[in-house]
Amino acid sequence: MSAPLVSVRDLAVHFARPHFSPLKPRETVRAVDGVSFDVAKGTTLGIVGESGSGKTTVARGLLRLVPVTSGRIVLGGTDITALGGEEMRQMRRHMQYIFQDPYSSLNPRVRAGTIVRSPLDVLGIGTPAEREARVAELFAAVGLRPESQHLFPHQFSGGQRQRINIARALAPAPDLLVCDEPVSALDVAIRAQILNLLQQLKRRLGITYLFISHDMAVVKHVADEVAVMYLGQIVERAPRTAFFARPLHPYSVALMSAVPTVRGGRERAARRIRLTGDPPSPIDPPPGCRFAARCPVAEPACRQTMPELREMASGQWVRCHRVEVVGGTIRRPLD
């Protein structure tokens, strides 16, 4: 593997809660609590997890859209953790974001062509004539008709709006594209169109993706590597094939088994690993393993000490006391 395009070490993003009473200590939401990963150039890292697991905050922290509490973010060899002002602004041309909701992420008063051109205007890329040409090229690249540049967002369907979002993100020719649930708000039949477009762009332009989704099947389809998040931490990270063939962490196993599938049907539902309750609050996470309270195989030790993220096989990392290597094979607690 060549030098990674993105390298994140021990990223933490904590938020202070609004202070209601001077008598109580101020509460901190540990939205992201020590996350590390690399993304090689031209590959896709898929981050899966349930709502509140910190997926979106990782993405926002990575792009410095929220204040980073601690950790280090390196993009293309440049440490951007502490970059400020103009320097950070210029870095932004290398990293762009596709938002989940194609309805609220486009300004309803601005024409589609202007929306797509705006990053070029803001970052001062090219002459006006070059910008016009670039916008036309982008409309073609994402499959929008050139004359639709003059339309307003409400004149497009959800899928088309997501194409505008993608065109806007592509405008400054970024190396890294962060896609935050890019198809969740779309109708099922439209999702395939957008997923195919993103895959084609990856093949054609060699873009690197951080792809956030709660949908296991979508991640299996797009990602080269998978990271599973639970309550602000990565609990498992592995290459796609290894992960989907045999997830190691009990949470990954449970999450995968919870997905209803066409072929699995009722049998799959009957074999499902049942998780009770909801994830605990990130305000005051438990001292041991954060999954212990819902884990079907938790032991007393799991509630006391936080497991480290350990490499069990090449590229397969897991944060669980109970996964171990016995005689060269990885033994899972749920086997």
Partner: protein
Amino acid sequence: MDGAPTTLLDISGLSVEFSGGGRTARVLNDVALTVAANETLGIVGESGCGKSMTALAILRLVPSPPGRITGGRIVFGGEDLLQAPEQRLRDVRGHRIGMIFQEPMTSLNPVLTIGDQLSETLIKHLKLDARAARARSIELLKAVGIPAPERRVDEYPHQLSGGMRQRVMIAMAIGCEPQLLIADEPTTALDVTVQAQIFELLRELRARSGMGLILITHDMGVIAEMTDRVAVMYGGRVVEEAPTADILSAPAHPYTRGLIACVPDLDAEEDSGADLLEIAGMVPSVWDLPKGCPFADRCAEAMPRCVAEMPPTSVLSAGHRVACWLQEGTGP
């Protein structure tokens, strides 16, 4: 579900129109569906295909104006709900037919406690007094798996998580032990692990009470896991209906095939990342439905006839019917 199970709900020829600005839109067109006791019927399709409208029409909750039920019969327990007086419907809604809406966040009243909202239907329909209604509310919360129900009953919706709120909605819907439960995308806003819990609960309830269940979803995986029969809706029509196993193994309508193939398959041995099958274009606007097959403009197999004429419904095998020119005359 073979043999002759008691038919609980029998919808035929149901049509709903919306009018405005001098135009008329047919949002439901000649919809026919049945649900038996102890059976789960799935309704699947994209947004704007008429799934939720069908659910609303069953309870005569179509917003009116601009909407209007223009024809058909909805026979429930031997009585045509479309002919029943409004007073009678109040006894059906929330009592004999329960409904779970899609949005647990917006379907609960934020200024009333969970207990108040649960008790309301119990007092109204079962004529319980306040004390008995409260006791029953606690029982219901317990039945849907809410921990510490004695405490939760006095809490407000904002104090509960999304999954818990949806459980409260279910508790409310089953409070009067309905014969039929309509669940409109009950888990779309929830995480998969919570979805699994809700489905488990619905399966248990059905097994225990023998109620009929209509489950509206856009997820074919959910259809496979939860339903006995499926109706695929498109452009306000049922374009295919069959026992779930038949529709998944041999989908006849190109739209049904598209819905199954357009999502990545988690069960696939290896996903090469190759392009997914796309259903080109989008759902037609109800204001602008074509005179032929509503799916014709997105269908890869469309023939000139599909654009010109509405396909008739053909029966392929027992309980499997489809409205598609490709299948015309292929039945038994």
